[in-house]
Symmetry: C2
Subunit: 293 residues, 2 copies
């Protein structure tokens, strides 16, 4: 029963004097179970590297349904057998797939998905960031995801943050199938927002990608195939034996707990800090995700 502690913390935060000196991590540690939502195992993509290490990705079917359906079909159809990480560009992305292979897609893959770069802002319940966004009229959080939006223009989109996973593509109007994916391993490349399909985010093991050697060719491609990092398997958690299946939950970004967390991310007042920032960028909030149970 951690609820009384949380209520006390919230009361202190709303008060004028920041006497509590809680950190954002304290808010996570003290959060009630009701502040979390389980992630569907059909939305978890598990990538095992051949030399050890696992990277787990939460898919975002509500924002890029056709691309995510493709990714599930590619995983189930064993498309990625023999796949590698072949691109590591510092402060930008790690990218994997079959690269220049002419391997055919499983039958249920949509070869030319729609753009799915933005969606209508209508009907979205947005928890506002509360700070200015350099890239859009507004920013905030929807169902656990960081988003930018423009109510006047009518659009909303997922934002490229550290750990965001998107679909590699050639020049427009190609939107990519989902066969080649990348994860952001540096400062948020928000210029890609609304220009590429975002399909999810790494929820565990991003350091397995971010600590890989950088490629020395243009755009961070590895020069020699011997440098490619082999991938043992890419599976949906829902297709794994129940006993082996990883299980995650994400903080409900509509909860009071998240509101407190967000306020502290923008106003660090614990002992280390002399001056709370009074603002935060959407990619520096880092929606809490954790192992369940």
């Amino acid at each position: 029963m951690k609820l009384p502690l949380l209520v006390a913390a919230a009361a202190l935060l709303i008060g004028a004097a920041p006497a509590a000196k809680l950190t954002p991590n304290d808010i996570v540690a003290q959060s009630p179970a009701s502040a979390w939502k389980a992630i569907d195992p059909n939305d978890l993509l598990v990538m095992d590297l051949a030399r050890g290490g696992r990277v787990i990705i939460q898919l975002a079917p509500q924002f890029a349904p056709v691309h995510v359906a493709n990714i599930r079909a590619l995983a189930r159809g064993n498309y990625w057998d023999g796949a590698t990480i072949y691109r590591l560009q510092d402060n930008y992305v790690a990218q994997w797939g079959l690269n220049d292979s002419d391997k055919g897609f499983p039958a249920d893959v949509v070869a030319k998905p729609p753009a799915e770069y933005t969606r209508s802002v209508k009907g979205l319940s947005i928890t506002p960031l509360g700070s200015a966004d350099p890239y859009a009229a507004g920013a905030g959080f929807v169902n656990g995801w960081p988003m930018a939006f423009d109510r006047k223009a009518g659009w909303a989109d997922l934002t490229h943050c550290y750990g965001t996973v998107g679909v590699g593509r050639d020049l427009s109007p190609d939107t990519g199938t989902g066969g080649e994916l990348y994860a952001v391993i540096g400062h948020a490349p928000r210029q890609l927002d609304r220009n590429i399909a975002i399909v999810g985010r790494v929820v565990e093991g991003i350091d397995r990608l971010s600590s890989l050697p950088r490629g020395t060719e243009a755009l961070g491609f590895y020069k020699d195939k011997a440098q490619y990092v082999p991938i043992a398997s890419i599976r949906l958690a829902s297709d794994m034996p129940a006993a082996d299946r990883p299980s995650f939950e994400v903080m409900d970004t509509g909860s009071r707990t998240f509101a407190n967390y967000l306020r502290l991310r923008a106003n660090r007042h614990d002992d280390f800090y002399v001056r709370p920032a009074g603002g935060v960028d959407v990619c520096n909030v880092q929606v809490p995700v954790r192992r369940k149970g």
Copy 2:
């Protein structure tokens, strides 16, 4: 004589139709020599790793004079003999120095430097970012450095971006001597702005830090000393033999070339992009720095 090309490009950019489709890198490639300023070798700190690899840092004496003077004194006094990289926290910092050593400082090191976290905005010639900043009233560039500022409150500060180098410290009012330094290897931790002394930025070899294995202890400290990454030497370029001395230049952020570069960083319109962002955050501009000659 690349000047005519640049003038043509500028004319096209100012015009309504973005016919040129130049990338920010094109602007750098076409820039005239007059758009660059040499970096003083007394402002270049050269860190050689014992197992190979070099990291080069540009110091910022105009913003943190006492801390930078300390760093020069530490380098000249061989304080860092036996130093290691002992902390690698994913999406945050790499940190190096002597850690818990009780080694004494060279005589000319100021043991308790002033905070040097901000300076007065008065007298600074700022090239404005032109986009909102989530952390401050304004952001822009001064003498090649990204800065945030608040004219009403009167302060300006260097911003924590990818590659920024700052001085590790304990709890305030300690400001650190400069003996323990960190470099940002992830998304800009802007909450540290105005809370810590920024002394420079990595201008070459940040990937030598960002690709190191992450530490598994709290805050990314390496668990075993065997994991520490040994540093062979940390020297000022000005103390190296002239023939070995690396030489760099930084784009003049007051130049017309930088104005064009900045405009394109905020409005990518080359073939890959469907929708230019119309904005950019100060840490995603990445002031061009390159080898000279």
